[in-house]
């Protein structure tokens, strides 16, 4: 096994890097959600239903965040439409 490691090295991305990238995204998302108003999940659901009137998308294709930008808050809606 160790011999094979030496010759066939570095084909797949290192799992530690994958872990780091996944964590950065989820932690940033959850930190935003922590300070988010209570109506956010309901808002997300309604936006999802409006979009679905026109295009069928999966739930995870809609990302919604509220970012505090000093004197105002920015509602960020990210929708991935299927091709």
């Amino acid at each position: 096994m160790a011999l094979l490691d030496i010759f066939g090295r570095d084909k797949a991305p290192k799992s530690a890097n994958v872990a780091k990238e996944r964590l950065k995204i989820i932690v940033a998302h959850e930190r935003n959600a922590r300070n988010a108003p209570d109506y956010l999940p309901a808002l997300q659901n309604e936006i999802l239903n409006v979009i679905r009137k026109y295009v069928e998308i999966e739930q995870d294709q809609l990302l919604i965040d509220i970012n505090d930008d000093g004197n105002c808050s920015i509602l960020e809606v990210n929708v991935n439409l299927p091709k």
């Binding site: 290192k14 780091k20 959850e30």
Partner: protein, 269 residues
């Protein structure tokens, strides 16, 4: 006036009780009068890690409910006369802990102790929130693994919003990161998050790194806090951690993978 330190993590099984036992023993050995409280009501384990499970008569909930006074419930450690253990109740549920009850016990302890270590249960529910509520400092115990890091971030959020200090606009709880079960050889292979990765994600100052070590299981088998195993890597790492907690500057150790011999490299293992 005691310093109240909560040992917390969100995730279970990362080393909170091991750390509570080691750190409290380390502080007591340094001459500070220290009490370590088990907040894991219903699942007490600090007593067995500290080898005093057969000496428990009264517990934390008995004291809160007035069935016993503190002196009856505190167990004096047989190895260090500066260290006392306040065991959790094994029979009642976590709701028996009230903010007022916890505060009354901490207020009494703070009169005569230098350090109060609160060993938190896993999770983010009532028991964990009670353990961290009155903390001045928090040791966030994290394994280099995705679920543990994520849960640590969650508990940091609770420290920043639901602790007594946060709710009353006092200076925030001093947060410090303790990375446990660290394996530098796996980091070198790209199989484990590095210290820098975890620091970058959690953005909390690093207090210590405890290497993955066989000494930890041996210590718990024997009911000896691993910090007393001074020959072991984990024991030494906890000694460094306690020294840093007391303000001493010490470089981090056990960051390099042990070199493997040619035989091991060719045949693995």
């Amino acid at each position: 006036m005691a310093s109240i330190i909560v040992v917390t993590s969100g995730k279970g099984g990362v080393g909170k009780t091991t750390t509570s036992a080691a750190v409290s023993m380390g502080l007591a050995q340094a001459g500070y009068r220290t009490v370590v409280i088990d907040f894991d009501i219903g699942l007490r384990n600090l007593d067995i890690i500290m080898n005093c499970e057969r000496r428990v008569v009264y517990d934390f909930v008995n004291v809160i409910q007035g069935d016993a006074n503190l002196n009856q419930a505190l167990i004096k450690d047989k190895r260090c006369d500066q260290l006392f253990i306040l065991p959790a109740s094994q029979t009642r549920d976590k709701e028996a802990l009230t903010k007022e009850g916890v505060k009354a016990v901490l207020d009494e302890l703070t009169q005569t102790f230098d350090y109060i270590i609160c060993d938190s249960p896993a999770g983010i529910e009532h028991g964990a929130q009670m353990a961290l509520h009155y903390a001045d400092e928090a040791l966030v115990v994290t394994n280099p693994e995705v679920s543990s890091v994520r849960d640590s971030d969650r508990i940091l959020g609770i420290l920043q919003s639901k602790s007594h200090r946060a709710e009353n606009g006092l200076p925030p709880v001093k947060e410090r990161l303790l990375i446990t079960r660290f394996d530098p050889s796996r980091v070198a292979k790209g199989e484990m998050l590095s210290i820098q990765d975890i620091e970058e994600i959690l953005a909390v100052p690093l207090l210590g790194i405890i290497p993955e070590s066989q000494a930890v299981l041996n210590a718990s088998n024997n009911g000896t806090p691993v910090i007393l195993d001074i020959k072991s890597d984990a024991g030494q790492a906890y000694q460094d951690t306690v020294a840093r907690l007391l303000g001493e500057e010490r470089p981090h150790r056990f960051l390099e993978a042990q070199k493997k011999g040619l035989f091991q490299r060719v045949f693995g293992g």
